[in-house]
Structures are given as C-alpha cells and as structure tokens.
Assembly symmetry: C2
Homo-oligomer: 120 residues x 2
C-alpha cells in the first residue's frame, strides 16, 4: 500500500522539524559515520541518536551499512521520491555558515580514522 503524496510530504517535513536530526544530516553530508561517532558529536544519549537515525532512515534521508559490530549511516543515494531528492540536494545551502553546524563539521574532521568509540 503506497502512501499518498500528502502523507509522504508531511513525513518529510516532520522528520526535518528537529534540530538534532538536521545536525545529524549535516554531518553525514561530510562523511559516513557510525552511531557512536554521531553520538560523540551531537551529545545526546546513544538511544536518542539511534531513534533519530531510525526516523531519518524510514523517511528515506539516510541509508545504513553494517560492518562488523558497527552500523554506518550515510546520506541516501537511492531516492524514493521527488521531494526527498530535491530537499537532500538543497538542504546544505540552507544551513551553510550556521555556527552550530560548522562546529559539528569541525568535530567530524577531527574524528580518528580507526573507530574507537569506547576508548574515546
């Protein structure tokens, strides 16, 4: 059963109506990251990060890739619909220069190559 355009669009807007989800999207534009790395940057509990990721994923914004113990998330490459594709394309331009986002991106760059979530 296919969702209506209306419900799909509402789901997209609701997904984007949370600051931490926008922050997560913006850091994923920079680099594919695992849950614990995202938690390092966003600074909420791991369960909250996981919940945000599941919301972003079910709306089609991000995709996951499992590798060993880790689950990596990246911006979606396969788009399920037009609004999603167009928003993913334009979103970074809307938040460019925002101080909080720039800080997060800076943190992404300082994340070590080898994952060391528990031995941070």
């Amino acid at each position: 059963m296919t969702k209506s355009k209306m419900n799909n669009l509402l789901n997209i807007f609701k997904t984007l109506s949370d600051k931490n989800r926008l922050r997560i999207l913006m850091i994923l534009y920079e680099k594919e990251l695992c849950v614990c790395e995202i938690q390092e940057i966003i600074q909420v509990t791991i369960s909250t990060v996981s919940k945000h990721l599941s919301i972003l994923k079910s709306a089609g914004f991000i995709e996951e890739r499992k590798e060993g113990k880790w689950v990596y998330y990246h911006i979606a490459k396969n788009f399920t619909n037009t609004p999603l594709r167009e928003i993913l394309f334009i979103l970074p331009s809307w938040l460019k220069g925002e101080a909080e986002i720039e800080k997060d991106i800076e943190k992404v760059k300082n994340i070590k190559e080898v994952i060391t979530c528990s031995t941070k």
Copy 2:
C-alpha cells in the same frame, strides 16, 4: 535580534508539518481568500483556521490584507529568506495531483465572487 538560520529553518519545517496548513497554502496558491472562505473549505472551526493562518503568517508563507470586516490572506510576495522563497516556489509541484488537494481547489473555484460567509 535576528533568528539563526537553524531556528528559521526549523520554524519553516514545523509550519509545513501540518496537513491543514498545507491544504491552506495550496488553496491560497489558487486565489486570495478570507478566513471564513478558508473555513468553508478546510472544515475546522474558525478559531482553528485563524490559528493556522497566524502560524503561516509568522513563518512568512502568507501575508494579509484587511478590507472592511474581512481579512484576506495570500501567498507571500515579499520573502524574508531563501529557504522560504525556494519552498514556496516548489511546493505546488510536490502536491500536484493529490486527491484531497484537488478537491479543495475545486471548492475554491465554486466560491461566489461576493463574500457571503454568514449566509452560506
């Protein structure tokens, strides 16, 4: 005190996260309408319509024009920021063909030229 890009964008997405507000926007693309005409179409109480309109207005999506006893609302012509302008431009294409929206638009076309809110 200027709002941050982040808060502005969040406000835009929150404003668009409600079905009745999307319906109101879509009928206003068709034609400038007063509060009671919008109520006729959307079918919620007048106070609820008024609340939605104030939210749409404060986010910059619509503007008002007072004429006698009536307050007419139309899609904004003066944009306060980039995301707003771009979304207002593209939104109709995202909801084109949606059954519920088409029905609302049909109702707009059948609204009489002379306003007769109380003598409907």
